[in-house]
């Protein structure tokens, strides 16, 4: 997969690799479907991702 790693904003581990583009008014993230992730805006033009599953994320288990 071309592109760059997107990492979990909580634990810093890679979530998926992508190269986003806009199509029909939507932002497409090829590769994002390789992981189960939560998405949110961190600022007006930056979206951040994090793990959903605690068994994959030390931060969600309170370990980091």
């Amino acid at each position: 997969m071309v592109g760059r790693n997107v990492t979990c904003e909580l634990c810093g581990e890679p979530l998926f690799r992508t190269s986003p583009f806009v199509r029909r008014g939507r932002v497409k993230l090829p590769g994002a479907d390789e992981a189960l992730v939560h998405v949110d805006f961190d600022s007006a033009n930056v979206v951040v991702f994090r793990h959903v599953e605690a068994d994959r994320c030390p931060a969600l288990r309170g370990e980091r």
Binding site: D33, V39, V52, A54, R61
Partner: protein
């Protein structure tokens, strides 16, 4: 606390018998019941404690509208304080599994516990994406929710769902359900009915080796069992399940 362990299986009767025997031999004091979703002709060959689920609510293709209404209703008249629902391909490796689950439930006050059982709003979980604008579901949640935010959507893995009797009775008290998907609907509805919904992975290692896919191989299972794993999922190969049981 008396726990009923219900095992959902659609396999041929001979395989079901062997799976159920392995569970009963591992943990003779636990109560196991087969919830059979295969053909009636196979069900009639089953011995032991088993019920037939013919409604096909659990038999739909993945990512359609599988539901647990039928299995919950079929168990309503049974006597238990907690229901543990697993699929045939979840192996129980530790005879102390009931005590481990009950300790978690009592420690958290859970009405429902599951694998990766967390709110899924704002995620790319395919079932959240499917239902995030489902008017029928959200109208239903707004009608019945005891929570401040009636739009919270939970998700969990379909195997390894633990419910308190109160939670089950609450679910069964609802007269109607929107068309939905069980792995989303069960924890979501129980949350909105006021029951604490707990993610087992956030508080313990009990489900560390329970995953959606891929299948576990025999050597991995043996190694995990030596290391104290309580459950392993998925093990879809009957030969692997037989070999794992024989190796005990």
């Amino acid at each position: 606390m008396k726990q009923l362990n219900a095992v959902i299986s659609h396999l041929p009767a001979g395989e079901v018998e062997q799976d159920m025997r392995a569970l009963r031999e591992l943990s003779p004091d636990a109560e196991f019941l087969c919830c059979y979703t295969g053909p009636r002709s196979e069900f009639e060959r089953l011995g032991g404690d088993a019920i037939l689920l013919e409604d096909d609510w659990l038999g739909g293709a993945p990512r359609t509208y599988q539901s647990y209404h039928g299995v919950f209703a079929a168990l309503a008249e049974r006597s238990f304080d907690a229901l543990y629902l697993i699929e045939y391909d979840q192996l129980v490796l530790d005879p102390g599994f009931e005590a481990a689950l009950i300790a978690l439930a009592e420690g958290t006050g859970a009405g429902f516990m599951g694998k990766n059982c967390v709110p899924r709003n704002g995620t790319n979980w395919p079932h959240y994406a499917r239902f995030r604008r489902d008017r029928e579901l959200f109208d239903h949640l707004r009608r019945i929710s005891t929570r401040e935010d009636p739009t919270v959507i939970f998700g969990t893995l379909g195997t390894g769902m633990w419910l308190s009797r109160d939670a089950l009775d609450s679910y069964l008290s609802l007269e109607a359900h929107p068309r939905c998907y069980g792995e989303l609907y069960v924890p979501t509805i129980l949350h909105h009915l006021g029951h604490p919904v707990v993610d087992i992975d956030a508080i313990s290692d009990l489900y560390r080796h329970v995953r959606w896919q891929p299948d576990y191989e025999l050597a991995e299972i043996a190694s995990l069992e030596r290391d104290g794993a309580v459950f392993v999922h998925p093990v879809k190969s009957a030969a692997t399940r037989r070999a794992a049981a024989a190796a005990r």
